[in-house]
Symmetry: C2
Subunit: 152 residues, 2 copies
DNA sequence: GTTAATGCAAACGTTTTGCACGGAA
DNA sequence: TTCCGTGCAAAACGTTTGCATTAAC
């Protein structure tokens, strides 16, 4: 586990304890998998990983823990209407994503100036902007190579 | 119906005819409601409107027509994992949206430079960027006023 | 007359819920 | 000992599908 993952894990554990939520083995496993993943796992992915350590774990438990973290703003939910949602506990605040439509991989690109854009939107529309979401969709280098090789 | 709505309607009708799809009364009604709406209607909203003219219309028919238009790139689908999808047939290409989390209203703000941003993302990540989506979430002026009046 | 669209109901995939049991504090 | 979390199954939700009937062309 890298340094950032450890920090995030501690932050989340402390927040849970402060609010008198219990640290169960299943819950801890979900947290650990979340902070270790830099590929924005889905609930199904988390579920499969947790099952390796605790084979009786149910999907509902994973959903409940992830939902709790979302409520506490300790995880960023990337909702998709046509697929399972994905979660980012390493950077639990709005930031842009690049999504491969072929393999489903999600990356965090470097990009600044979005906050300023949000403020500009607020001025122009009169809305009080609270959050935002920016996703780019395309094909990652790996998938493009495979596609090229097949001659599609 | 404003000029843009009429243009869009004609474009869609011609495209349908060219591909030998049939122009049924229900289908025409869906198209008309889509091009007249600048509030990004949901399927349920379209359905309710179509029902006023053709009371036997089914939800499935609306879904099928909207799906057909989506395939033909004549409508932009804004998918939401926690609510019904919304549709934009007036500007059927990626553009930013401002969404009121209180009343669900969706507006099209002026904003340029996103295409350039997409190209920058492509360069930085190696992805072939095909499309994107940018949503700002906040509270619209009308809802803020109501909230202020109630003292929430 | 052909063939595609409609309308109904059943199926779908993901997420949420209700509830009895088990375990963290 | 308390009562929150778990795990199961059922429900919920928007959406899609299969199929017989209807209607556009």
């Amino acid at each position: 586990m890298d340094r950032h993952a450890q920090e995030r894990l501690q932050q989340m554990l402390e927040k849970l304890k402060r609010r008198r939520f219990r640290i169960t083995p299943q819950r801890l496993a979900v947290l650990e998998i979340l902070v270790e993943s830099d590929f924005h796992p889905s609930v199904e992915t988390i579920f499969a990983q947790v099952r390796k350590r605790f084979p009786t774990t149910s999907l509902a438990t994973v959903y409940k823990t992830v939902g709790l973290l979302k409520e506490m703003h300790e995880v960023l939910e990337l909702g998709f209407h046509d697929a399972g949602n994905r979660y980012d506990a390493r950077k639990p605040f709005p930031h842009p994503h690049v999504i491969c439509t072929s393999c489903g991989r999600i990356r965090d690109p470097e990009l600044s100036g979005l906050q300023e854009l949000a403020e500009e939107m607020g001025r122009k529309t009169g809305f009080t902007i609270v959050t935002h979401r920016l996703d780019f969709y395309g094909v990652c280098p790996e998938c493009r190579e495979k596609t090229d090789a097949r001659g599609d």
